[in-house]
């Protein structure tokens, strides 16, 4: 890792993994919300089922990451198909509530009745006594718990991050292709006016369902990767606050933009890490150059926003972004660049682009 990346968490492979994984999650969510405008509040269910599928693949088949990912995507896609098939019959707020209800159902079931499958509150863990059919054909079981690997390469620390990063890039590429494909255009058409799309004699529902399933698969993939880097799956991943988190990431970065969701995910995970680590002691040191009386006032005030209060900062940031920049950070950047370009043009004494005919604006 180059040294200039250090302030961005390059020393913490676990954090880097989270960047990549939640980036994938947010990209997938954006394919649904960004392209079609359907706000799902139930994507955590897909994340959760992805994790469970991956851990079961570790337990039953092999510790290799590839089958785990495969099963995570397949199961999440299947669940997304069922939920999407039912939920997409309604739109707007009703769609949000339906997805929320399904996700809460999955969460409650994972906690209660499905305990044999999910191990309830404790969470699904690897055990020494797991069968691991494929692995046991090739290698003798060791003394300790085996770790997840990619054909022998251990999937923790930096290798795990590189693996997730490669998947992220592939996922980003696919989402780019989706955005620019006729299928993506169709989805954008649905977003701007679904009725008119229907009037042109087009059945929009298969397109919506495809988008929903793709987006669910991304979420399942992210869940699978979470399990690959840390083989554990708990029901709290399915709770609706987790769905809320991915909404926050996508919106913060910029709904409907390609890079925005990745940016939002990275930003939230990064600041979560940085801000949570702050405490009164660190703050006191930070302000130690100020007079004591000022420090005594400042530390409790800033203390509200860091450490355990990090969510307060997140909530405030989120509210501010929604009020002033509904397009998220990407809109902010675009506005900023637009301003810079304008002022640059004025300084150079040239005409602004709007004045030139045929420029397209």
């Amino acid at each position: 890792m180059p040294i200039w990346l250090e302030p961005f968490g390059a020393n913490y492979p676990d954090l880097l993994q989270k960047f990549a994984i939640y980036g994938i999650f947010a990209i997938g969510f954006n394919i649904l919300f960004g392209l079609t405008g359907y706000l799902s509040f139930g994507h955590a269910a897909f994340l959760g089922i992805g994790s469970y599928a991956a851990v079961w693949s570790f337990k039953l088949l092999t510790m290799n990451a590839i089958p785990a990912m495969f099963f995570a995507v397949i199961f999440a896609g299947g669940l997304a198909f069922i939920i999407g098939f039912l939920s997409l019959r309604r739109s707007g707020i009703y769609f949000s509530i339906l997805t929320l209800a399904f996700a809460q159902m999955s969460y409650k079931l994972a906690y209660s009745v499905l305990t044999p499958l999910t191990n309830g509150e404790t969470g699904l863990q690897l055990r020494q006594t797991d069968p691991r059919i494929i692995d046991s054909l090739f290698v003798e079981a060791g003394a300790g718990l085996p770790s997840t690997n990619l054909f022998g390469l251990k999937m923790s620390g930096y290798p795990g991050f590189y693996f997730c990063a490669v998947i992220l890039i592939i996922g980003f590429f696919i989402s780019m292709r989706v955005f620019r494909s006729p299928f993506g255009l169709m989805l954008k058409g649905i977003k701007s006016n679904q009725n008119r799309m229907n009037y042109t004699g087009l059945n929009t529902r298969p397109y919506m369902l495809t988008a929903f399933v793709i987006s669910g698969m991304y979420a399942g993939l992210a869940g699978g990767l979470l399990a690959i880097t840390d083989p554990l799956a708990g029901a709290e991943r399915m709770q609706w606050t987790a769905s809320g988190e991915v909404v926050l990431m996508t919106v913060l970065g910029g709904v409907g933009t390609l890079i925005g969701p990745v940016l939002g995910a990275g930003l939230i995970k990064y600041f979560e890490n940085i801000f949570s680590a702050f405490n009164a002691h660190v703050l006191t040191e930070m302000f130690s150059f100020l007079p004591d009386a000022v420090v005594e006032v400042l530390v409790p005030i800033f203390g509200l926003f860091v450490g355990g209060g990090w969510h307060l900062t997140l909530g405030l940031l989120f509210v501010v972004v929604i009020i002033f920049l509904p397009g998220g950070l990407m809109e902010g950047f675009n506005k900023l660049f637009g301003l810079l370009r304008k002022s640059g043009a004025q300084i150079r004494g040239k005409r602004t682009p709007q004045d030139q005919p045929g420029d397209g604006g």
Binding site: L39, R90, A101, L312
Partner: protein, 338 residues
């Protein structure tokens, strides 16, 4: 028979809380057209009004303990007990019902500030953005409460006069052993009164009539020279008070903590949708209905046949209603139709 009777009471009781929260939610939706994800947080704020009031009443100082003679001992004694040795302890005992007095103006103010400060800028924005901004607001409220009151639940006790159990069975001839907590009966009666008051306000006052007219056709009412925005602000504050009161009275049943609102929010949205978006009667009906359904689903006889049904029944009902009757039980045509 006894069990069924108790389950009915239980269901009505649960339903009362759902109905109160959903009533405010649907009132805001019907008037302002705002999907308010912060409503659960308001319910939680109401509960913490009771906590704050209790803290206020029990502000203490150290007083020499005369019961200990060997050495000088001090014990914390609330000022109220020192100033009014007779009435003080009684006041503290009744802190939960008394905190209603404080909760009403506080919640009115919170609702007013919230609507004028934030919500009013979102009338013309898409529903998705309304959901998002109120969701963010809910996080903020929640975290502020957590910062001041801590993350642990703070149990509040009902007044000792009302803390025992009522032998409901003997009233209607079911046997002495059918008992039900007094406070929950009071909660049931209280929510009935609040629901009644809200309906009476909307139905029998001129103010309420204008509000109802505004719900039907906002533009026409505005053209008649009525400042409908202003009335809707008051309605928002009123909905805040209703949710807050539900929270205050719920504290002896469930010790309040900072995320209790979120749990209720999801349920109350389900209630609102089942009742029909923007329909007040529907919200109340659906609240009680879902409470009953949930309570019966959690009977051991039912869970023995369908394990886990008690956990998901509400969501199942919601999904079913949404798919079969998209307008809910009592929704009007033209409200949130897609």
């Amino acid at each position: 028979m006894d069990a069924i009777f108790l389950q009915i009471l239980n269901g009505l009781d649960k339903g009362a809380a759902y109905a109160l929260i959903a009533l405010g939610l649907t009132l805001v939706f019907g008037t302002l057209g705002i999907v308010n994800f912060a409503h659960g947080a308001i319910f939680m704020l109401g509960a913490f009004c009771a906590v704050a009031f209790n803290k206020l009443l029990t502000l203490s100082t150290k007083v020499e303990d005369t019961g200990v003679t060997l050495f000088k001992a001090y014990k914390e004694t609330p000022y109220l007990k020192i100033w009014f040795p007779e009435a003080g302890p009684v006041l503290i005992d009744f802190s939960v019902p008394l905190s209603i007095v404080m909760a009403i103006p506080v919640m009115l103010l919170i609702g007013y500030v919230m609507e004028r400060g934030l919500i009013k800028h979102f009338y013309k924005r898409p529903h998705a953005e309304q959901i998002l901004v109120t969701f963010g607001l809910a996080i903020v409220i929640q975290e502020v409460v957590k910062a001041y009151f801590g993350a642990n639940p703070i149990p509040q006790s009902a007044p000792s006069l009302m803390s025992g159990s009522a032998s409901v069975g003997s009233w209607i001839g079911l046997g002495e052993n059918v008992v039900y907590p007094w406070w929950r009966l009071i909660y049931l009666g209280f929510s009935g009164a609040v629901v009644f008051a809200v309906f009476a306000f909307l139905k029998y006052t001129t103010y309420g009539m204008v509000v109802r007219a505004g719900m039907r056709d906002r533009e026409t009412v505005g053209l008649l020279g009525i400042d409908i925005e202003r009335r809707f602000t008051i309605v928002f504050a009123l909905a805040t008070v209703v949710a807050g009161l539900a929270g205050v009275m719920y504290t002896p049943v469930l010790p309040p903590d900072f995320h209790m609102g979120m749990d209720f929010l999801v349920l109350s949205f389900v209630v609102v949708v089942v009742g029909g978006m923007g329909s007040l009667g529907g919200a109340v009906l659906a609240g009680f209905l879902l409470g009953l359904v949930q309570s019966f689903a959690s009977m051991t006889e039912v869970t023995a046949i369908l394990p886990g049904i008690d956990q998901i029944i509400i969501y199942l009902v919601a999904v079913f209603i949404l798919l079969v009757l998209p307008r809910g039980l009592m929704g009007r045509a033209g409200v949130m139709d897609d």
